[in-house]
């Protein structure tokens, strides 16, 4: 199984952050039935982590594995776009996902 790891940076209980969390879960749950690693970081609680990752604005999602690293900003509500950026197959063809 290919390791798939993403980190989502959000700020407190912002609406966009909450939507981004829900969206990425929905996308990954559908596309990665074998599991994935999602880390959600609240930049208010861990400003150092945000600094280390050079986060300019939240919500920002970083795919840390597999390489290459990919970075997305926004509420991730455009599923088609997010899947394409993260190289995730749409849910209907998840068995044949690369």
């Amino acid at each position: 199984m290919t390791d798939f790891a993403i980190t989502l940076y959000v700020t407190g209980s912002s609406i966009a952050g909450a939507q981004a969390v829900a969206n990425i879960r929905a996308i990954c749950d559908a596309a990665l039935p074998d599991g994935y690693r999602l880390k959600v970081i609240d930049v208010l609680g861990d400003p150092q982590a945000a600094d280390d990752a050079h986060i300019v604005a939240t919500p920002t999602l970083i795919r840390t594995a597999p390489p290459p690293q990919r970075r997305v900003i926004g509420d991730l509500s455009d599923f088609v776009k997010v899947r394409s950026i993260l190289d995730l197959a749409p849910p209907t063809t998840s068995e044949s996902a690369p």
């Binding site: 930049v43 300019v56 604005a57 990919r70 970075r71 997305v72 926004g74 509420d75 455009d78």
Partner: protein, 705 residues
């Protein structure tokens, strides 16, 4: 990119670089006639306007391009002084570059921009090069002009659009970013830099991320100085220098959001305590109940009302009252978990929502804790003050699933706690409506209760412990409210006493008991003495003796059939006058019984001074003695002592066989309680009295081992 003259034309430069070399090559390659033909072909095909001038500057050759650029057909141009024909006099002076040296520096042709005149009078921007056609002064020259009109237009256009670009992009109030396909910043205008709080080098070339959103998204900006901003972001896919890119617009909405947040806070919070207000409370409760249904646990809802808050306001002023409310708000918040929500509903009323509750007892424990915390001393105006509260609560789903019902029930429970003196916490149950209506309501209802015949006497049997025989009845006042049903005596008797209504009702009780005894006797039933309860207010009434003796006389009853039960407190306040009143009753033959012995003063001196014939041991001692050896010894001692001063001893509130056995072991004379029979209405009591002898015996006492 800017265009500034003068500049070098590539073609003319090449021409001037090697004029001799090209001619030499041509001369070697072809004959004279061929050379003339070649010249004609090239001359006609030149894209630039070309004229050949003689030594005086007159036009000797004029190509097609020249005809087009300047508007003069060849016939008109030939023989004319070129400089007169194509240049204004002032321009002609500057354009007529005579002597030739002005045009050639070290043998190199120089080109420069100038404006020529078209035949129609308009100006034509040209790049002009004049080259000697042969070496030596006075030789023919070649005039070569490139039309710059299109180029000028293009440059003009470019200059204008650059200004537009500057205005639209650089000076835009919105932040504008261009990100490449990987989400790397390739361009940022000054507003974007300011908004993202990053300068060129921290932004250009840095990875912001590929934008994904439907229409727009509100993003949180992490500024370099650690502060937070909010921006509205929109993005569109575009091309940037031929590559896929994203045009991202960002609007600063930090201030707007802050203002919105402030308005929201004001709308949802109580200004005095900063706690959520009624509006937010209802939102939170709805959310808590939604989560409860998902998690399948319980939600506790507490309503808290401070006792005596009005008095605090009246005594210390509103400022102090406000301070108290703030203190209460802080304390409530401090003693709860983070997930619990405290709200101020207005006045001195607070609510608490408790989530993830496992059992209703947890809510009771938290209510206890709150009561304790609120009771801690508060300093108001240097006066230490302790405030108590009335708490009512309801638990979802037990007491209701929906918010409205839960709120009503918790509120009702709080009201029940409030109206019941001595009770601080009440859990919702349907009983609260039956047992605990408001005091004001009770008072109103009580005023007409006798008249409306809502009062009745029930009778509880008293049995001899030795053989179970019926030895007496205690008359107990009952009130059935037309709407509320039965109201517990513990709730309405204090109201009767406070309002003085007890005098009327007390008289009625004595009258009614005597009338009932007379009725039973008239029916030939074997009757036993009936005990009536008398309150301190009645005893203090000067006419009390006359009421008792008058009632007995009226119904022709011997005074031994009526007993008067008094609580210790009834005689403690004014023992002298009590002593006088009771003395006369005693002399008249009415037996006096001291009630609730063991709960109050239990002053033995009183027993000696007042003419009691019997003593009732309080049910709390009876309950305790069954489980506790010391209490059992205490009761045994009391009984022995009371027997020593010649008093009959009755145990009340006997509910279990174990209590009965202990009481019997202590040598107690009689008992009263659920074990042998509850208080019964007139019909049932009449049936008891009229039944066979055996039925009058206490079943529990008959089954003596």
């Amino acid at each position: 990119m800017h265009v500034e003259g003068p500049r070098r034309s590539v073609s003319s430069g090449q021409l001037s670089d090697q004029p001799g070399a090209m001619a030499t090559a041509l001369a070697a390659a072809m004959g004279a006639s061929d050379r003339a033909l070649l010249f004609d072909v090239l001359f006609a095909a030149m894209g630039s306007a070309v004229a050949v001038l003689d030594a005086d500057g007159r036009i000797v050759a004029w190509n097609g391009s020249a005809e087009q650029v300047f508007g003069y057909p060849r016939e008109q141009a030939l023989g004319q002084d070129l400089f007169v024909l194509l240049f204004r006099p002032e321009l002609a002076t500057s354009a007529r570059p005579l002597p030739d040296e002005a045009f050639t520096e070290g043998g190199q042709a120089r080109s420069h921009e100038c404006k020529a005149l078209h035949r129609d009078g308009s100006e034509v921007p040209i790049e002009l090069t004049i080259t000697p056609a042969a070496s030596g002064a006075g030789a023919a020259r070649i005039f070569l002009a490139r039309d710059l009109t299109r180029e000028k237009e293009f440059v003009e256009m470019f200059t204008v659009s650059e200004a537009n670009f500057y205005n639209v992009v650089q000076r835009n109030r919105s932040g504008i970013l261009v990100l490449d396909a990987e989400g790397v910043v390739r361009f940022a205008n000054p507003v974007a830099e300011q908004l993202l709080a990053r300068h060129d080098e921290d932004l250009w070339g840095k990875e912001l991320g590929i934008p994904t959103m439907d229409h727009y998204v509100e993003v949180n900006i992490l500024r370099d100085d650690g502060s937070q901003g909010m921006a509205e972001m929109t993005a569109a896919e575009t091309l940037w220098q031929g590559q896929t890119a994203y045009l991202v617009m960002v609007h600063d909405i930090t201030e707007r959001k802050r203002a919105e947040e402030q308005v929201r806070h004001l709308a949802y919070h109580d200004a005095l305590t900063g706690l959520p207000n009624r509006v937010l409370f209802h939102e939170r409760l709805a959310g808590a109940l939604r989560r409860r249904r998902r998690n399948r646990n319980m939600v506790g809802l507490l309503f808290i009302d401070l006792n005596g808050f009005k008095e605090v306001n009246d005594t210390f002023g509103h400022a102090a009252g406000d301070l108290l409310l703030q203190t209460i708000g802080t304390r409530l918040t401090a003693c709860l978990r983070e997930m619990d929500a405290v709200a101020r509903m207005g006045g001195d009323e607070f609510t608490i929502i408790l989530e993830q509750i496992r059992e209703p007892e947890d809510v009771e424990r938290i209510a206890d804790k709150i009561l304790r915390v609120l009771g801690e001393t508060v300093m108001l105006e240097q006066v230490p003050l302790s405030i108590s509260a009335s708490i009512g609560y309801a638990v979802a789903p037990r007491d209701g699933e929906d918010a409205e019902m839960l709120v009503r029930r918790a509120d009702d429970a709080m009201y029940a706690a409030k109206t019941d003196p001595g009770t601080h916490i009440v859990a919702y149950s349907p009983d609260i409506y039956r047992l605990k209506p408001g005091r004001a309501q009770l008072e109103r209802s009580l005023r007409g209760a006798l008249f409306r015949q809502e009062m009745a006497l029930h009778y509880q049997p008293q049995h001899r412990l030795a053989d179970g025989g019926l030895v007496g009845l205690e008359a107990l006042l009952r009130w059935r409210h037309p709407k509320l049903g039965s109201i517990a005596p513990a709730h309405f008797i204090p109201v009767l006493e406070d309002t003085g209504l007890i005098l009327d009702v007390g008289r009625w009780v004595i009258q009614r008991a005597c009338a009932q005894l007379a009725e039973w006797r008239a029916h030939g039933l074997p009757i036993v003495p009936v005990a009536v309860n008398v309150s301190p207010r009645q005893l203090a009434d000067r006419g009390f003796n006359e009421i008792v003796l008058g009632a007995l006389q009226e119904h022709g009853l011997p005074s031994s059939l009526l007993r008067v039960e008094l609580a210790e407190s009834a005689v403690m306040d004014d023992m002298d006058s009590a002593s006088r009143a009771l003395g006369r009753l005693d002399q008249a033959g009415v037996a006096l019984v001291l009630d609730d012995f063991g709960t109050g003063y239990s002053a033995l001196g009183m027993l000696r001074r007042l003419p009691f014939s019997g003593v009732k041991i309080d049910h709390s001692l009876i309950t305790a003695m069954a489980d506790n050896k010391e209490d059992e010894m205490l009761v045994a001692g009391l009984v022995a002592m009371l027997h020593g001063v010649n008093k009959t001893v009755i145990g009340e509130g006997v509910e279990t066989h174990r209590q009965l056995e202990k009481l019997r072991a202590c040598g107690c004379d009689a008992m009263q309680g659920w074990l042998c029979g509850p208080a019964a209405d007139v019909d049932d009591t009449t049936a008891l009295l009229g039944g066979p002898d055996a039925s009058r015996l206490c079943e529990a006492l008959r089954r003596r081992p």
